[in-house]
Symmetry: C2
């Protein structure tokens, strides 16, 4: 049967990027549907009526929502280039860190570190560095979170390898440095070196504009930048 | 090899209850370690250093944290009494609703519906009923969320079948009624009728006290009850 795979995404969000990478790593042909999130298509609303969010993967007409669940689905459906190890305990550990990446890092980076100022921002920075320390620990003795090759956790955290530097530039604070995060710095480099990864980054200038806009909007437009 | 399975839990939380049910449904022998969450054991802190929370399952010395990840682990490790269907799309759908149960229902019930008053509580009640409507829809044509037998979503949402009525009693508002939620009401009954489910509910009076205490603490002790 000819597989029909469609990915509803936008150009800038880290969430669909995980799915893009997984599809390409697994060598799955797919069609991309770019959504304007300020004017969502009726198809997106039909496929994800609960959250109305991207990404949505539609495989042979059936929608799957939420980026980490899409990765699990792809893993179960397309066996080539496994994203998870075989061992159930190692699988549970990978899922733990992928959830951690969403719940403790991604949201905090976007809504606290990037979108606050003064004392609140300082506290958010202390907090995010504590969280990042767990990732530094997790990389001990490994090239990637997935071991010798990239896996679920690398894809879940992969946005950091590109977006972190943009956030640092906007707020004027270095969050991850060579002295305190040598393994994370090495991982950022090695992860970014993989062609499928860096070939799919959004344009940097455009992303810098967009994330500056997020900060400006969060702080109120009349706040000095 | 003799399997050594330990579950770190407390007596009242809905999260470890999911794991208790899964272990019993799968017929796995295990030992329970009851934690006093105001004075956590060094073992709990060792096994779950990131979140320091229950439940933790320790299988042959290796810890697995987070209740939904523990269910996935049990599913992969002990094949008897499957909690997830075989079909990848149905598996993704079950995981979607299990996450929804955590992110949109459990937290909102405990921290908004139970812990607010006045206008804020009214808004929380409107909001939770909208969320519960999705579950009502999901039950159409099915006995359980899992179909003919209980599965991942039933275990994730199962606490409702017992705790909902306690919350309703404390706040003096009926959240789920026969007229608007006939399928959810039928599910509550059928789910509670399963011996492994109702044999493991915490004592009702004690739970009522505890949840009253949550509300009192959230509103400030001098607030009229």
């Amino acid at each position: 049967m000819a597989e029909e795979v469609k990915l509803f995404r936008n150009w800038s969000s880290p969430y669909p990027l995980r799915v893009v990478w997984a599809l390409k790593l697994k060598g799955i042909e797919y069609e991309e549907v770019f959504e304007d999130l300020s004017n969502k298509s009726s198809l997106l609303l039909k496929y994800n009526p609960v959250y109305k969010k991207i990404p949505v993967l539609v495989h042979n007409g059936k929608p799957i929502c939420e980026s980490l669940l899409i990765l699990e689905y792809l893993e179960e459906t397309f066996k080539q280039y496994p994203l998870l190890p075989q061992n159930p305990h190692q699988r549970a550990t990978a899922r733990f860190w992928a959830n951690f990446a969403d719940e403790k890092i991604l949201q905090a980076m976007r809504f606290d570190v990037l979108s606050k100022q003064g004392r609140e921002q300082e506290e958010a920075i202390v907090s995010i560095k504590e969280k990042l320390k767990y990732l530094e620990e997790e990389l001990k003795g490994k090239k990637f979170f997935g071991g010798e090759s990239i896996g679920l956790v690398d894809l879940a955290l992969g946005w950091i390898a590109y977006y972190l530097n943009i956030i640092e530039e906007i707020i004027g604070v270095k969050l991850v440095d060579q002295e305190k995060f040598p393994l994370l710095m090495a991982w950022i480099q090695q992860f970014s070196n993989i062609p499928i990864i860096h070939e799919n980054w959004p344009p940097r200038d455009k992303l810098l504009d967009r994330y500056s806009g997020f900060r400006k909007a969060a702080l109120g437009e009349d706040t000095p930048k």
